[in-house]
């Protein structure tokens, strides 16, 4: 699965910027999203949710709801399959409580009725008697003796017995001797940081249409990042065979990791099975905030030692992440990513997964990495400030390169961190003058990237066009990229290929569109499927010419005779061979099914200029530059879009976005009026630089780009704001009250 010839290859389609295939549909309203599905006889579902952060259910009476006008079915936990284990048990517990509610918004029961209003009215008739229990929503408090126990016995064997039962997993990595490393340093800094949970903030709320009959056969239409895993999970939770549930992924209005699992889909299927009619559920925004996964919040301590000339002698970090009332906070990735950009002899990173009375966290672009970068890169920035060193020179001096032993163990293959730092250093942004109350921040970031199970099918039509079926929902422009890679491999034009996201009955199992894997893995599979197709095309040409297959080559979209004894024949184009395929052996279809294992890791460097108003604490990002290694940018516009999107979401996370809980454990801001994501007027133009250091594990050199772009922003913005304000900001979001408090504290300290 090695890099074919990306370093020397002259690409014709790859690297160009063709018009996106889904653009017209989306701007004209023709695209069909999750809520756009309808079926004859369709019912509407609604879900009753807990108003308490932690409570025991003493009584759950649905009789009045069942008798309400228009109601056709009511389901509770007993309508789902028993015997779930592992993550399936966690998912089931999250989508429907059993005996105890674990967070504000936890589902308790659901109704299907002939209208949305009838369903919602019926929810009011469900009687639930709760015994309210003590709750905890703060990660540090949840670890302290005396904190309410959310679910005892959840911890795995990695957690020392002395820890509170809310601590459910422990991870530690590193190498060398950190004590000796700190002893070598001229300056050692140890600081503590906190980040709040933020939501992925996708535009489209979760929506699905489900149909499940008493015979166990079903159909599901839903907006998801992974319809194959949705089928697998739903089938398990409903106790049906996975192959009897066909799942189709709708067009998707954003996911960012938050749509890699299921929430409403099993509930809609359970209601449909009970009512024997199709059931549609569409979440409202409040439900999205209260009951779907935000990212984890974090509390972190980082200690770094540095010599006067900028060499980092040791790094140590403690990372505590809460992931809601379930195991799964991505703390191991926080620990593994924290020091990944640096070639250090002495590293130790420890991390704890902690349960709180909050919704079950879900992945959010590079889960766990952005908070790690915030803590580590802030300390590096402060060390640079105190030692009078240039922040990019220091990062270059310590940068990970090919052969560096990563903090998490292995040695890096060819990577492009140094190239991103050099490009950032050379960018005019880095030397642009700053005004009063303005500051500049730099940060590096790292993400692993992922591959996963992948299957594609590439079928030729008689007119010489190509239908490519992939199993990875298009969350970032992948249909265009797939068309480009297929066209490149086949030697035809981009507009001759159409890529479709096929349903679960059409292809072999595909892993979720996550881990920045789609352009890498589905792209690799597309290229290999095209090569499989070419093999078949060449065989048809050889048969037509009456020569050996080995005497035929594929060049510029045509089969050509090759070699001294091949003979002299007119080249046969793809279209010409396809036009006769019915009479030369039948349909021509190329396949590829595998789990590629060459996803290259990715690094980025971000530059940020921010202005802080010392009177109000308001912050404005005035200049932003993203530099990231893409390996090979298949469609540079989409790559730039991923870079800009990561920066935009990072700006929100750094400056404004946060889950706010009241004393009662209830979420106080479940809506976009009170949960403030950046709007266009909050953002500067975000410049991008695409660095291309080819990934040796992909035929064209692709590295995933969807996640790394959100790793540096928290730190880069914090460094810019801290340098503008003249005081170190250690807690996100850096909202105006928090900045004013930091300024006041600094004034008090100095006064």
């Amino acid at each position: 699965m090695a890099l074919d010839d990306a370093a020397t290859r002259e690409f014709k389609v790859v690297g160009t910027r063709p018009v996106r295939p889904d653009g017209v549909d989306k701007v004209t309203g023709r695209a069909r999203f999750g809520a756009d599905a309808y079926a004859p006889g369709m019912l509407h579902g609604a879900i009753l949710r807990s108003p308490h952060a932690h409570a025991r259910i003493l009584r759950l009476d649905t009789a009045a709801a069942k008798a309400a006008p228009g109601v056709k079915a009511v389901v509770t936990r007993k309508d789902f399959a028993e015997g779930q284990t592992g993550e399936n048990w966690n998912v089931l517990e999250n989508i429907m409580a059993d005996g105890k509610v674990l967070y504000d918004g936890h589902a308790v029961a659901a109704v299907a009725a002939t209208s949305v209003f009838a369903a919602r009215d019926a929810l009011k008739r469900i009687v639930v008697d709760y015994e309210i229990l003590p709750h905890v929503t703060d990660v540090d408090e949840a670890m302290t003796a005396g904190a309410p126990v959310i679910r005892g016995g959840t911890a795995d064997n990695s957690v020392p017995d002395s820890m509170h039962p809310n601590v459910v997993r422990f991870h530690e990595n590193g190498h060398g001797d950190v004590a000796a490393g700190f002893a070598e340093a001229d300056l050692v800094l140890e600081e503590s940081f906190r980040t709040e949970a933020t939501h992925q903030g996708y535009i489209e709320p979760h929506a699905c249409l489900a149909q499940l009959g008493p015979d166990g056969k079903g159909e599901l239409w839903c907006c998801t990042q992974g319809h194959f895993v949705a089928a697998k999970t739903c089938a398990s939770l409903l106790g049906i065979d996975a192959s009897q549930l066909r799942v189709t992924a709708s067009e998707i209005g954003g996911g960012f990791g938050g749509k890699t699992t299921v929430f409403i889909e099993p509930v809609a299927l359970a209601l449909s099975r009970k009512a024997n009619r199709p059931v549609k559920i569409v979440m409202d925004r409040t439900e999205v905030f209260r009951a779907t996964g935000p990212t984890s919040s974090a509390s972190m301590d980082v200690k770094i030692g540095m010599t006067r000339d900028g060499r980092i002698t040791a790094g140590e970090g403690s990372f505590r992440l809460q992931g809601g009332a379930f195991p799964g906070a991505p703390m191991e990735f926080t620990a593994m990513c924290a020091f990944a950009p640096y070639n250090l002899d002495n590293i130790r990173a420890s991390a704890w997964d902690v349960m709180c009375n909050r919704p079950k966290q879900a992945a959010y672009r590079a889960p766990g990495s952005p908070m790690a970068a915030f803590a580590v890169e802030s300390v590096i920035d402060e060390l640079c400030n105190r030692l009078g060193l240039d922040p990019i020179e220091v990062r270059l001096k310590n940068a990970s390169r090919e052969g560096t032993r990563a903090a998490f163990g292995p040695r890096f293959q060819r990577i492009g961190l140094v190239e991103t730092l050099e490009a950032a250093q050379a960018h005019p942004h880095y030397t642009a003058p700053l005004g009063p109350n303005q500051g500049r921040g730099v940060s590096c970031g790292f993400w692993f990237n992922h591959a996963g199970e992948t299957a594609v099918s590439l079928a030729l039509a008689e007119d010489g066009t190509v239908s490519l079926s992939v199993g990875t929902p298009d969350i970032g422009g992948s249909r265009a990229s797939m068309c480009q890679m297929a066209a490149e491999a086949l030697g035809i034009s981009y507009d001759k290929v159409r890529t479709t996201v096929a349903d679960t009955a059409t292809l072999g199992y595909n892993d979720v569109s996550h881990g920045s894997r789609v352009t890498y893995a589905s792209g690799l599979a597309t290229i290999r499927a095209a090569e499989d197709t070419i093999e078949k095309l060449c065989a048809r040409a050889a048969a037509q010419w009456g020569i050996d297959r080995e005497a035929v080559v594929w060049e510029d979209g045509c089969a050509r005779p090759s070699g001294p004894n091949a003979g002299d024949f007119e080249p046969l184009s793809l279209a010409k061979i396809a036009s006769r395929m019915g009479r030369t052996g039948g349909p021509i279809v190329g396949h590829y099914e595998a789990t590629p294992e060459g996803a290259g890791v990715s690094f980025a460097t971000h530059l940020v200029d921010a202005a802080v108003d010392p009177e109000t604490g308001a912050t404005k990002v005035i200049r932003y530059t993203v530099v990231q290694d893409a390996g090979k940018a298949i469609h540079p516009s989409y790559v730039e879009g991923q870079y800009q999107g990561g920066a935009a979401q990072g700006i929100g996370w750094a400056l404004n976005e946060e889950y706010v809980y009241g004393e009662d454990g209830r979420l106080q801001n479940p809506g976009f009026l009170d949960y403030r994501i950046p709007v266009a007027s909050d953002l500067p133009m975000i410049d991008t630089v695409i660095v291309e250091v080819p990934n040796p594990g992909h035929p064209y050199g692709v590295r995933g780009v969807g996640e790394t772009s959100i790793c540096p922003p928290l730190a880069a913005i914090a460094n810019a704001v801290s340098n503008a304000a003249g005081v170190r900001l250690r807690e996100l979001p850096m909202s105006p009250p928090r900045i004013l408090a930091a300024l006041d504290a600094a004034q008090t300290d100095s006064g």
């Binding site: 990595n173 990791g257 879900a362 590079a366 998490f408 993400w447 692993f448 992922h450 894997r517 294992e597």
Partner: protein, 81 residues
């Protein structure tokens, strides 16, 4: 024999060792060898791991080859958003 590097919090389940040597020709052999040598590792390995072989991170393919001189590192299973 192949030397396998364990992450820090796994070492208590392997008598405190950072490196465990196992007979292995594939990634699958590595995992089976680790469990055979140190059964306490089984829950963590069953929960999902990746194996880095000479810097290449293998997420799931048990048949990937390893050589006696390969640098083999056990890692947490990777996933993303």
């Amino acid at each position: 024999m192949v030397d396998v590097v364990l992450w820090g919090s796994l070492r208590p389940f392997a008598d405190g060792q950072e490196i465990v040597s196992v007979e292995a020709a594939t990634v699958g052999d590595v995992l089976a060898g680790l469990v055979a040598a140190h059964p306490g590792l089984k829950p963590q390995i069953d929960a999902g791991v990746s194996v880095a072989v000479d810097g290449r991170i293998i997420s799931s393919a048990l048949g990937e080859p390893v050589r006696p001189d390969s640098e083999v590192v056990l890692m947490q299973r990777l996933k993303g958003g």
